[in-house]
């Protein structure tokens, strides 16, 4: 009985999300040129990774002890998880604008959780572009790597992509809590975080000095998004700073961090005082 109610609720939520997303896409279609440019922007934005990868493949033998195919695998896993994050959570790092424009007050009056309204607030068409580049880069990586795909590796890759998306969502959600108090100061930090994840996350952290590599593994969990999952898939554990078992459990980090970030967000939301308008 209880299971049936939960299922009905889930179906209702999914239908509502789909309806809101469709409306958002229709709204974006009002500006046709901007819509087309949005998809192109998504492709081009992430294509910078491909540009660097092309230079890497054509001119240098590898990077930080990884072959060029291995580096491409790290970059493609990072991009795949970023695309999933973009589809589901991209609006979280726009919270500063939502607060500044006074929209959050309206969200508080509606019979839907505020966080869900934030993530459904706008659909980012650029994510189609992210996804296109991610898939291209992944197929390039596979062509250069002689990986033996087992059922475990396929399941692990899927879990790693979802886990990576949840890590990005967790970090951005935790940072967005600050936007509830000071939206203008937070705007640049979300951009910086996005930039940091996209630059440091695409390469083997072994190229960085030990302290920085440690910081990006244990403080800002960049390593857990793509570097450690790629290490598991290729068996390249040298320079990863964590034991093999932790690398194997890297997709779980996303779930744990996301749940913690949501608790932090709810705590801050309960103390929110309107500052926009």
């Amino acid at each position: 009985m209880a299971g049936g109610t939960a299922l009905r609720r889930s179906v209702y939520r999914l239908r509502l999300s789909w309806k809101l997303t469709s409306l958002n896409v229709r709204a974006r279609l009002e500006y046709r040129v901007e819509f087309a440019l949005g998809i192109l922007a998504g492709i081009l934005w992430q294509a910078s990774v491909m540009v660097f990868a092309t230079v890497l493949i054509s001119r240098f033998p590898g990077l930080g002890g990884w072959s060029s195919g291995g580096v491409l695998l790290i970059a493609s896993i990072r991009l795949l998880s970023h695309a999933v994050y973009g589809v589901l959570f991209a609006n979280v790092n726009r919270l500063h604008a939502i607060v500044q424009e006074g929209k959050l007050e309206a969200f508080l009056l509606r019979p839907l959780p505020v966080y869900r309204q934030v993530v459904l607030h706008q659909f980012h068409i650029n994510t189609f572009g992210d996804l296109a580049v991610a898939v291209t880069l992944f197929s390039l990586a596979l062509r250069r790597l002689a990986l033996e795909w087992t059922p475990f590796k396929i399941v692990f890759l899927c879990a790693a992509v979802v886990g990576g998306a949840l890590i990005e969502a967790a970090v951005q959600t935790a940072l967005s809590c600050a936007a509830l108090r000071s939206p203008t100061a937070t705007a640049d930090w979300t951009g910086w975080l996005d930039h940091t994840l996209s630059t440091f996350g695409n390469y083997p952290l072994a190229i960085l000095p030990g302290a920085v590599s440690g910081l990006l593994t244990f403080v800002l969990p960049v390593a857990f998004i793509a570097y450690l999952p790629a290490a598991v898939l290729t068996g390249t554990y040298e320079g990863t700073l964590v034991p093999r078992e932790i690398a194997l459990a890297s997709p779980c980090a996303g779930v744990v961090l996301f749940l913690a970030a949501r608790r932090l967000w709810n705590w801050n939301m309960r103390r929110y005082e309107g500052i926009g308008g």
Partner: protein, 274 residues
């Protein structure tokens, strides 16, 4: 114009350039984040290119110190671009959407001059960041000092012309708002194209021949690749006059385009809201 009038006009223009500085000073959080962003980007760029050259002496005619210097300077030079004024909210798009663009045409100062002076304020603000970063990077030995007596003056002239081109390209995108209303995605696309074709992502010397040949017919490499190649010594000083002449031609061409666009834009101001 009398000398007193000229001084008063310059004073007014200086007050407009100060807007960028004052709005940034009011947001210390933004300044800290800019410092961290630039610092981390420079650090990663230096680490990446050093690691790439771990088993290579020379690649695409560039030695390690030249490639690292080029890449790091490209990161620093990206701060010279006009600032994002979305949070102010003072972007061209916000003015178009909220109808406040109308005021640009009611002020005693012509809109094209106001746009230019605000951009000068932005670029002067960016220059301060660049100089601070350059000082730190040369002290740390990440960026080599220019080699030869004429390299630095040649670089400065070329960089100045490059910045004129950067301004005119961004102005064209802003003016597009008069036709397309929204320009945020156009800005994203342009940002990428400009970064790729100017050498901000990777030095253009690493790209295939057909790519660099096609790129030489566009204005983008004049913004960054030419000045940086002069700085690191990849373009010899005797080739500088030719490169600078090409940059000057681009400045003139783009000025003609933006002048025409301003004239046409003035006749089609549409207020979307407000």
């Amino acid at each position: 114009m009398t000398p007193v009038g000229a001084v008063a006009t310059i004073g007014r223009l200086c007050r407009i350039t100060r807007v960028t500085w004052l709005s940034e000073l009011l947001e210390p959080g933004r300044m800290v984040s800019t410092a961290i962003q630039v610092g981390s980007q420079v650090f990663l760029t230096a680490c990446l290119w050093t690691a790439l050259y771990a088993h290579t002496e020379v690649s695409a005619g560039l030695q390690e110190h030249q490639a690292v210097g080029y890449a790091v300077l490209a990161v620093l030079a990206s701060r010279l671009r006009p600032l994002s004024r979305d949070m102010a909210p003072d972007s061209f798009y916000r003015h178009m959407r909220e109808g406040t663009i109308l005021y640009w045409f009611l002020r005693p100062l012509p809109p094209h001059r106001y746009h230019l002076v605000r951009a000068l304020g932005d670029q002067a603000h960016g220059l301060l960041w660049v100089l601070a970063g350059y000082g730190l990077c040369t002290t740390a030995g990440v960026v080599p000092l220019p080699d030869g007596r004429w390299t630095l003056p040649a670089f400065l002239v070329s960089m100045f012309l490059g910045q004129v081109i950067v301004y005119q390209l961004s102005l064209i995108l802003d003016l597009l708002c008069f036709w397309t209303v929204a320009n945020s995605n156009a800005l994203h696309v342009s940002h990428f194209v400009q970064s790729l074709l100017s050498g901000a992502f990777a030095p253009l010397w690493f790209f295939p021949g057909w790519f660099t040949t096609a790129n030489s017919f566009l204005p983008f490499q004049s913004t960054l690749h030419i000045p940086l190649s002069i700085y690191v010594g990849r373009i010899p000083v005797n080739r500088v006059p030719r490169e600078v002449a090409v940059q000057a031609v681009w400045c003139l061409l783009l000025w003609l385009i933006t002048r025409t666009l301003w004239k046409r834009a003035e006749s089609r101001v549409a207020v979307q809201g407000g």
